[in-house]
C-alpha cells in the first residue's frame, strides 16, 4: 500500500488543499499546452477484451522516439469504438480513432489510418473531420456523471482533483452546513437511480434526523442485473466521483462511516476504486479531522459474491454484515434500522455520483435538466445487435425512438427489430410503435415497461419471445434467495409452465395458470425481486400473444424452441 500512494502529502488544512489543487491544475494544463503529442487510450472492461492493453503498450513502445505522452483513461462509453485512442497534437483538437489495434500505433502517429477517425473533439470541424458532438451518439448526451470518464486517468487523484474532484466535499466541509447540503439535494430533486426512484433528499433528511448513532451511508454498486454495466464504468473511469459522493453523504447525514458495496465479479472496478480510496486516505480526505474541518469520516469497501438479490437494500446490508443476503420485512426502513441495526442511508452509485455537481453548482442548476418529475440525466446502456453500442448519459425525457434509432444507431445490417426489453428482469418489453415516449421514471410504466436502472436490451426477429420469457423467468428463479415461498416455489412453477409450452405440450389452461401464479408471486412475495419477478413473462404474453398461441399449436415461429424440432421429427415420421 505504501508505495502505491508514495508522493502524496497528507493535507491537514483548507489552505493545503487549495495549494495542492492549484499545483494539480497547473500540472494538468502543462500536459495539454506542451509540445508533445498526447495519446489517450480508453482502457476498461469492454476494451481490454479487444486488446486495449496491447494498444497502450504499442504506443508506449514508440513514445520516446516519437516524442509522445501516452496515457490511459477510462472508456468514454462508446463501446462500438473499442479500442478508442485520442491523439492530441499541438494546436489542434484531439482526433478520435476507433477500433485501434496494436499494429496501428506507428501509422496513427504518422497520420495514416484516416478511415478509423470518427471525429475530433469539440464543436468545430477540423482537417475535414466532423466534430464528435455532431455524431448522434454524442450529440444527444449531457454528461454530468460521465464528464471526466474517458478524460482523466482513473488511477491519478491529481488529475481528478485538477478536474474539480473533491470540490463538492470541500464546499460541504467549509462553506455549507449539513442542512444546506441536504437542501441543495432536495432542490435538485434527484431520484434514486437504482430503479425505485425515491428522492435522495428525503432519504438524507430522515437520515440526518435519526437520533440513534453511529449512522452509516452505503453506496450500492452491486448492479447484479444481467444487462447493466453503468456503475462498473463509473468505477473504472472516475472512481473519485463515487467516493466523493459517499463522503458528502456522510458529512450531510452525520454518518460515522461510508461503505461501498461492489459486486465481486468486477475485478478492474474493484482495483481502481481501491486505489482511489488509498490515495484519498493518504491525502487526508478520508479519516479523522478532514482537512482540518474537525469532521471525521471512515470508509470501507466491501465486495459481494455474485448474488443478484444483494442489490436489494436490506439484502445488501446483510451481505456487508457477512451473512446470506436475504431481504427482510419492512418497516423498520433502513434509515431507521439498517446496517448493524443503525440508521443507514443507502443510495445508488449513480445517485451519489451526481452529488459533487449538485453541491458545487447548486440544486437549481441540476434541476434544469430532465423533465418535471424526473430531474437530471440518466446513464443508459443498450445491448443487442445495435450499430453503436455503448453507455450514454442523456437528459431524462429523451425520446426512446431517438435513443434506439440515432444514439445507438439502429439495428446492425441483417437484423430486424422485434422489441426492446426494459427494466432488466423486472418489467416487460416494448414494441417499436410504442417507442415514441420520453424515457423517465414514470412514462414507461403505463406501457408495461420500466426505466429501472437504465439497461435496455434490443432483440431481433430471431429471438423467440417465449424462449426469452423463459430466460428472464429462469434468471429470477435462480436468483431467488428462497426465503419466502411465493417466490421460491412460484418462479420454478412458472418456468415449468413455460417449458410445457416450449416443448409443445402446453394448452390454453397453461396461459391462465401462468397468469394466476404470477398474481400470487407478485402479491405475496416479500421483497422487490419476487414482486416483479413475473413481470417479464406477463409483458411478453401481452406483447406477443400470437407467439404463445402458435407454440401451443405446435410451431415456434423462430425455430428456437424444442417444439419446432419435434414438429419436424413428427413431420418426417409422417412422411
Amino acid at each position: 500500500m505504501a508505495e502505491q500512494t508514495a508522493g502524496l502529502p497528507r493535507l491537514t488544512s483548507q489552505k493545503e488543499f487549495d495549494a495542492f489543487r492549484a499545483k494539480a491544475i497547473e500540472k494538468w494544463q502543462a500536459i495539454w499546452s506542451g509540445e508533445k503529442t498526447i495519446v489517450s487510450v480508453g482502457v476498461g472492461s469492454s476494451s481490454i477484451p479487444v486488446g486495449a492493453l496491447n494498444v497502450l503498450a504499442a504506443f508506449e513502445a514508440i513514445a520516446d522516439q516519437e516524442n509522445l505522452i501516452v496515457r490511459k483513461t477510462g472508456q468514454d462509453g462508446a463501446d462500438w469504438t473499442d479500442v478508442q485512442a485520442r491523439v492530441k497534437r499541438k494546436d489542434a483538437p484531439a482526433v478520435v480513432y476507433r477500433n485501434v489495434v496494436a499494429s496501428d500505433a506507428k501509422g496513427i502517429i504518422d497520420g495514416k489510418h484516416r478511415s478509423k477517425i470518427i471525429g475530433v473533439e469539440g464543436d468545430e470541424e477540423y482537417d475535414g473531420h466532423k466534430p464528435l458532438n455532431s455524431l448522434p451518439f454524442y450529440k444527444y448526451q449531457q454528461r454530468i456523471v460521465l464528464q471526466d470518464v474517458g478524460v482523466i486517468d482513473p488511477d491519478s487523484i491529481e488529475e481528478a482533483i485538477a478536474r474539480g474532484a473533491y470540490m463538492g466535499l470541500y464546499k460541504a466541509l467549509f462553506e455549507l452546513s449539513a442542512e444546506e447540503v441536504i437542501a441543495e439535494v432536495t432542490t435538485a430533486n434527484v431520484r434514486g437511480r437504482g430503479g425505485a426512484g425515491f428522492p435522495a433528499g428525503i432519504k438524507w433528511e430522515s437520515g440526518r434526523k435519526a437520533r440513534v448513532t453511529p449512522k452509516f451511508v452505503t453506496c450500492n454498486s452491486h448492479e447484479g442485473e444481467p444487462n447493466v454495466y453503468k456503475d462498473r464504468r463509473i468505477h473504472e473511469g472516475d472512481p473519485h466521483r463515487i467516493l466523493e459522493g459517499i463522503l458528502i453523504a456522510c458529512v450531510a447525514v452525520g454518518a460515522e462511516r461510508g461503505y461501498n458495496y461492489v459486486g465481486g465479479e468486477y475485478p478492474l472496478a474493484i482495483e481502481r476504486f481501491r486505489k482511489a480510496v488509498n490515495d484519498a486516505t493518504a491525502l487526508g480526505l478520508i479519516g479523522r479531522n478532514l482537512l482540518g474541518s474537525g469532521k471525521n469520516v471512515a470508509f470501507r469497501m466491501r465486495t459481494g459474491g455474485g448474488a443478484y438479490i444483494c442489490g436489494e437494500g436490506s439484502a445488501m446490508m446483510y451481505s456487508i454484515m457477512g451473512v446470506r443476503g436475504q431481504p427482510r420485512t419492512k418497516p423498520p426502513r433502513s434509515v431507521e434500522e439498517g446496517l448493524w441495526k443503525r440508521p443507514t442511508v443507502a443510495n445508488n452509485t449513480e445517485t451519489l455520483s451526481n452529488m459533487r455537481d449538485i453541491v458545487v453548482k447548486g440544486g437549481e442548476w441540476f434541476a434544469q435538466f430532465g423533465t418535471e418529475r424526473s430531474k437530471g440525466t440518466k446513464l443508459m446502456t443498450v445491448q443487442g445487435p445495435m450499430k453503436t453500442l455503448g453507455l450514454v448519459e442523456v437528459p431524462m425525457g429523451t425520446r426512446f425512438k431517438t435513443l434506439i434509432d440515432e444514439v445507438w444507431g439502429g439495428m446492425r445490417d441483417g437484423y430486424a427489430f422485434k422489441g426492446v426489453q426494459t427494466g432488466g428482469v423486472s418489467a416487460g418489453p416494448l414494441r417499436y410503435h410504442q417507442l415514441d415516449v420520453p424515457v423517465d421514471f414514470d412514462s414507461l410504466t403505463p406501457l408495461g415497461g420500466m426505466l429501472g436502472s437504465g439497461g435496455f436490451v434490443v432483440f431481433d426477429e430471431t429471438v423467440c419471445s417465449v424462449d426469452f420469457a423463459r430466460y428472464l423467468t429462469a434468471f429470477n428463479r435462480v436468483e431467488s434467495c428462497s426465503k419466502c415461498v411465493p417466490c421460491a416455489r412460484g418462479n420454478p412453477a412458472l418456468v415449468e409452465a413455460i417449458d410445457r409450452i416450449r416443448f409443445g405440450r402446453g394448452s390454453q389452461s397453461d396461459l391462465a395458470l401462468m397468469r394466476r401464479t404470477s398474481k400470487h408471486v407478485i402479491e405475496l412475495s416479500l421483497c422487490g425481486l419476487g414482486q416483479v419477478a413475473p413481470m417479464p413473462l406477463l409483458g411478453m404474453m401481452d406483447q406477443y400473444p400470437e407467439e404463445f398461441q402458435t407454440h401451443i399449436d405446435g410451431v415456434c415461429p423462430c425455430g428456437v424452441c424444442p417444439v419446432s424440432a419435434q414438429s419436424t421429427v413428427e413431420a418426417i415420421a409422417a412422411d
Binding site: S46, D79, T303, M321
Partner: protein
C-alpha cells in the same frame, strides 16, 4: 497458481499454510469488522485456489470469529464460490441478457450436448471447468462472450465455440 497447491490430503487440496498467511493480513478491530471481512476473505481464497475446502473454511472461521458451518452457508448462497476443485482451465461463460439475445443459449446447449457439462461442471479429464455467469462480464459489444482463464473470446458462433473448447481439451496435458 498451480504450484502453490500441494499436500492434497491435508487441506482438501488446499495449501493451508498459504491460507494462514493470507488470513494474517486480516486484522479486524472488533467482532463487527470481522464479520464484514468474511466474504472478502473467502473471495481471496476462492480466487487463489478456485474453491474453498472445509479445512480452509475452518481457518477463515477461526480468524474472523465465526463457524465453518456458517461459512458453508455463505459459500452455497453466493454464486461466485465453489466448494469443489476446478479443472486445469476455467471458463466464465457470460449468460447476461446481451449474450442471450446474441445466442449464448445455444452455446450452453453445445456444452451440454458435445461435452456433457452444465453450469459449474468439469470435463471428464479435468481439463476445463465452466461456470455460467448470470450477471454480465461487461464486454457486451463482443456478445456472446466467454472468459477463458484471463483471455476473452467474443462474437462466438457454435463452431468457433466448439473449436475453442476442443482446443483447450486437446492442448491440456493429461494427468497420467
Amino acid at each position: 497458481m498451480a504450484e502453490a497447491v500441494h499436500a492434497p490430503a491435508a487441506g482438501g487440496g488446499i495449501d493451508l499454510d498459504y491460507v494462514r498467511t493470507l488470513m494474517a493480513h486480516f486484522e479486524p478491530q472488533d467482532w463487527q469488522e470481522g464479520q464484514e471481512l468474511i466474504l472478502g476473505a473467502l473471495q481471496e481464497v476462492n480466487e487463489h485456489f478456485g474453491y474453498v475446502s472445509i479445512e480452509a473454511a475452518e481457518i477463515v472461521a477461526e480468524r474472523l470469529g465465526t463457524t465453518a458451518t456458517r461459512i458453508f452457508g455463505l459459500l452455497t448462497f453466493y454464486a461466485d464460490f465453489r466448494t469443489e476443485p476446478r479443472g486445469k482451465h476455467f471458463m466464465l461463460m457470460c449468460h447476461g441478457m446481451s449474450c442471450y439475445v446474441m445466442g449464448s443459449q445455444q452455446l450452453v446447449q453445445q456444452l451440454a450436448d458435445n461435452h456433457g457439462i452444465g453450469d459449474g461442471g468439469t470435463t471428464e479429464g479435468g481439463e476445463l471447468t465452466v461456470q455460467v455467469v448470470n450477471g454480465c462480464l461487461g464486454a457486451c459489444n463482443q456478445a456472446p462472450v466467454v472468459k477463458l482463464d484471463d483471455d476473452f473470446y467474443g462474437r462466438l458462433t457454435d463452431e468457433s465455440f466448439n473449436a475453442l473448447v476442443q482446443r483447450v481439451i486437446a492442448e491440456t496435458p493429461k494427468e497420467q
